[in-house]
Symmetry: C2
């Protein structure tokens, strides 16, 4: 009981990804009292280095219990937290916590295996189920979670029922950093006509690896402006993503959870597909989910 | 006439790409007498360095006229050879040669602008039209030219009538060199069950950026063998490419021109789509096209 009492007195929640981590101190009343973000993601922690990396978090935010989510629980992280199969709700996550120490709990990811389709998530589940628990999101419906790997998630009775990952963010980065389109994609992505035209086109047509090359050809032949290329490419990729996502069972409204600079692009593309889109801030959803899991520790 | 006589006495044909160049000395009877390949592609030649790079070719293959094709004629090459619009036949290429010197001719690329679709090629046109002139390929039909950027080309009356570029080879390289799939894609690509299954799947279904992520999920969840991942990824990409290509006007048979290690993969994927595929060696087609253009110089 002394152990559980310490969690209700406050704890630290960490969203620990591949390349970054964000840590929040949550007070006894659930409020966020302090936070920081740095680039000590999973890949930046040397072998055996997680105890030191965790001690550093406590130096900055206080000597509290830690709830860790994200890639820190992968097979390349601190300690593997095996995927919980769908259907997965907040209680399922809380029951399957993995404990590398007495005061450190790692949230498992979620897996799906349906119709010969395999998929995994790790980190997004806390945000998704946090939004449900906070009443910000229907217990039955479709959620889109953009990021490096966008997730389309079907919720049923408040649980993750099925989901599909689309590599949109990573493909954009690969094209921008390393491809023949690189010099065309250095500009900003704007919610402009080029973005919306490309999104509508990709929602209606399917030929992404051909349309990507056409970005270059259109500029070379004077059919498009070079400064629109990044927005057009983003529209093509996100429009393709939306076409895939909306092929899942869905209602008229899609909840989009994540960083605001990404949710606004996805929300616009979803509107171009004649659906309603509601944006939620991923950070707030993460905090809501972390609080719900912490409440359940020891129960 | 002295000038033309020198071309009919023999010449050097160079397929000068972005990262490599291949040079061939063609004798008076059209036979290939000597050749070499090196990594002095367009990007490896410093500003103003093309005269020296050309002199080096003559040091190795003799003091003959030069016919240059490929990216050497782009706006980042030696001298820009503007695209010839479709329909483009071998006579159109010969008429639009660009001459940086009296004894050096650059073959133009080809462009298409149809139905708001823009596309360009540079280098492949010599191989395609060489195959037609050599009687190896129907004057009306569909040709597939795999490479970094695969081209699907519609021929009409022996001319390039329309075409579409698919970034398949470059996407595979980006994924293999820089993506979250990199560690899974280092193995060889084999024409095995994994390749054929993925190709059939991609020919019938359209969700490439989602299916790519599933490669990782399937291995993580024990649904697929890691050593099959490269073949499976190649099958997905090439199957998607074939689905796009076969949406063009086509006959029952597709001619596949290029490097044999690529044409065999595309030919198999085309067969998985229930079409016939005939493979032609790209190097032989290039030499055939270069000879035809050289014949026309001065006429």
């Amino acid at each position: 009981m002394a152990e559980h009492a310490r969690w209700t007195d406050g704890f630290i929640a960490v969203d620990w990804g591949t390349t970054n981590r964000r840590a929040y101190r949550i007070g006894a009343k659930g409020e966020c009292e302090a936070e920081f973000e740095d680039d000590k993601g999973m890949l930046a922690v040397p072998g055996g280095g997680f105890p030191a990396a965790v001690a550093e978090i406590r130096e900055r935010l206080g000597d509290h219990p830690l709830l860790l989510a994200g890639m820190v629980g992968s097979n390349r992280g601190w300690k593997e937290a095996p995927y919980v199969p769908v259907p997965a709700g907040i209680d399922d996550l809380a029951k399957a916590l993995v404990w590398p120490g007495e005061r450190e709990a790692i949230v498992p990811g979620v897996s799906t295996l349906k119709n010969d389709r395999a998929d995994v998530m790790r980190g997004e589940e806390v945000q998704l189920l946090g939004a449900v628990c906070a009443g910000k999101c229907d217990e039955d419906g479709l959620v889109c979670h953009p990021g490096t790997h966008n997730k389309w998630v079907t919720l049923r009775e408040g649980k993750i029922s099925d989901f599909r990952t689309v590599m949109t963010g990573e493909l954009f980065s690969l094209l921008k950093d390393h491809s023949i389109l690189a010099d065309l994609l250095q500009g900003p992505v704007d919610l402009n006509d080029a973005f919306c035209t490309a999104a509508r086109f990709a929602i209606a047509n399917e030929a992404l690896p051909a349309e990507l090359f056409s970005i270059r050809a259109r500029v070379l032949l004077g059919q498009a402006k070079k400064e629109d290329a990044a927005s057009y490419a983003s529209g093509l990729l996100i429009g393709t993503d939306v076409r895939i996502g909306l092929s899942l069972p869905t209602s008229a409204q899609v909840t989009v959870i994540g960083r605001p600079e990404l949710t606004r692009l996805y929300a616009e593309a979803i509107r171009q597909a004649n659906r309603l889109a509601v944006e939620l801030d991923g950070e707030q959803c993460f905090l809501a989910g972390a609080r719900e899991i912490a409440k359940r520790i020891g129960k």
